[in-house]
Symmetry: C2
């Protein structure tokens, strides 16, 4: 079993009575090595199953073939989907994905970045935490000449390429869908004011109302802090307490929508006949709840794939133009929670 030392080029060279470099070149079928030498070496290598020492190769080429990937939270349907896409795509080019999480804390994110840097990944994919408003720790990568791609949650001012979803469009579509299905008093339980994605969704919501001659009412817009189920419950209660309560709610994310469900059920308010709901992200739970939840899909897998592609193109230094920003279209998945049964 173990401890048979791995075969090296040196061993092959000695055994075959050739030089190390010839052996090296033969294995790569270098054009000016004799065909028969190539065969000789390749056969020997195959027979003794020679495997090049990757650590040495990487050292020589000063790279690792590893790509760092930092997300706010790993145990999260959307992000795990992105990771899944990133892994599958990276594999195709022989890259590995090294995952880390920030738990939505800036300090953790900075540590994760430094660790990634220390372990010498060739490049980085990052989706920033809710607490990240400065990106010096991210720029350190760029300063080292390592490419970085932001995805989903991005820091606009960094001027680092990004792969995002069209949150504005998503918000617009969700709201438009509600309007077209006969709802007119549409509230929005929004995200944090300081998070870009949330702002875009809010803008989309407002624009859709405007485009359909509906008023934008400030009392219909409530901003979350923790983006939790509890907030959904509480804020829905608050909305219902209004003199003129809404007949539909567009929620910043499915989890919040779930809280809204709870409040409505507790009060025996029928969904979608009395109040309609649309979520965002299209988590697994959207299909599970009763009634099932209409939600805006963000194409997480695709986002992972595209982000990796962009990064690998930069790494491999292909000459053709690489777009600095990819904006994926959202897809509204219409289910029961937003379509009246009549």
């Amino acid at each position: 079993m173990s401890e048979r030392r791995k075969l090296t080029l040196k061993d092959i060279a000695k055994e075959l009575g050739i030089s190390i470099s010839t052996a090296s070149r033969a294995l790569k079928a270098h054009p000016d090595i004799a065909e028969e030498t190539i065969q000789l070496v390749k056969d020997y290598a195959a027979k003794h199953n020679y495997v090049p020492n990757i650590i040495a190769v990487n050292f020589r080429k000063s790279r690792t073939k590893n790509i760092g990937l930092i997300v706010p939270e790993l145990v999260h349907h959307f992000f795990s989907t992105v990771i899944s896409g990133a892994i599958d795509e990276a594999k195709k080019s022989g890259y590995n994905i090294l995952v880390s999480q920030s738990n939505d804390h800036l300090t953790d994110e900075i540590i994760a970045c430094r660790t990634m840097m220390a372990s010498s990944v060739d490049g980085l994919l990052i989706s920033i935490s809710n607490e990240t408003f400065e990106g010096d720790h991210i720029l350190e990568f760029v300063d080292e000449g390592k490419p970085v791609i932001q995805f989903d949650k991005v820091l606009e001012k960094l001027s680092i390429p990004q792969v995002i979803v069209d949150d504005f469009e998503g918000g617009y579509q969700a709201t438009k869908h509600l309007i077209e299905n006969g709802y007119s008093r549409i509230a929005h339980i929004a995200g944090r004011k300081d998070v870009l994605n949330a702002c875009e969704r809010l803008k989309g919501y407002k624009q859709a109302l405007n485009d359909h001659q509906l008023p934008v009412l400030e009392e219909y817009i409530i901003h979350c802090e923790s983006i939790s189920e509890e907030e959904g419950e509480i804020f829905m209660d608050r909305l219902l307490a209004l003199p003129n309560p809404p007949d539909a709610v567009f929620c910043i994310t499915d989890l919040v929508a779930l809280g809204v469900f709870k409040t409505l059920k507790k009060r025996a308010i029928r969904i979608p006949d009395q109040v309609a709901i649309v979520g965002f992200s299209n988590w697994k739970l959207a299909e599970i709840v009763t009634p099932s939840l209409t939600s805006v899909d963000q194409h997480g897998y695709k986002m992972g794939v595209e982000a990796i592609r962009m990064l690998i193109q930069k790494l491999d230094n292909k000459e053709y133009e690489i777009p600095e920003k990819i904006e994926l279209k959202t897809a509204l998945v219409i289910r029961e929670s937003s379509v009246k049964s009549t």
Copy 2:
């Protein structure tokens, strides 16, 4: 900005008029270097923020400080929880986690293993696919002298250390709980006969019935193939068609339980008054469904932590004994689906 070449030991040595080896030793505060030299070097290094080239260090030590982690499916609540624990724990010892997935296919698993091997991880954590009954691809790691730890879904015959959950106990507790809550005709929608975890849960179920003088009825036990929501629906229908249908169902996993929910709701059968349900894994969905689902928690995060600990102990070659098998206890999380409202 970029392209300022990184500082090396050589640079420091030249600058300070000392030799490379002295610089190297000084940075590690080697005992027989003069205190003042140490200060000199350390100060210089700090001032010019010298960072050792990890790739070179790893090459020298022929290791990577990377640990491979292969799961059947990344986008899966339980596994992402395990990964999360593994990452957090590995970080503490300066190890990185390199994630890959098999999609529950043997071929993909083999490829993932080879890729991991090629990229030279120092060790491997693996949870096998449903199609894995031979483990030569896993043994290749061991042959290379790289430690491997199995977790959750393991191949018993490999005699490779494992971290698992006590599935037998989980099945036993779930069934016992149902019995104690007044249910006596308890069915089990089981997993595949060829998957160890599923067999253990089934054994636990049977044992609990035996211990409480209840008969084990073959018609109450149905084996899944794909472990899907659809199967839950179909099999529940089948169970209800029995002359003497069950009054409770213990499901191999929460997803299957969800299918059971659907069938019961479709037929307007009240949960848990007419039929009780217990799931397994305690996914997020268990708290979300109505009524909420009683489920057996597998402590995924802890499993990730323990598996990494075990592996790192092997890597760091600590001399004290390392248990070859850690069996975590399950925890029954009692919710509404299994407790009569009376």
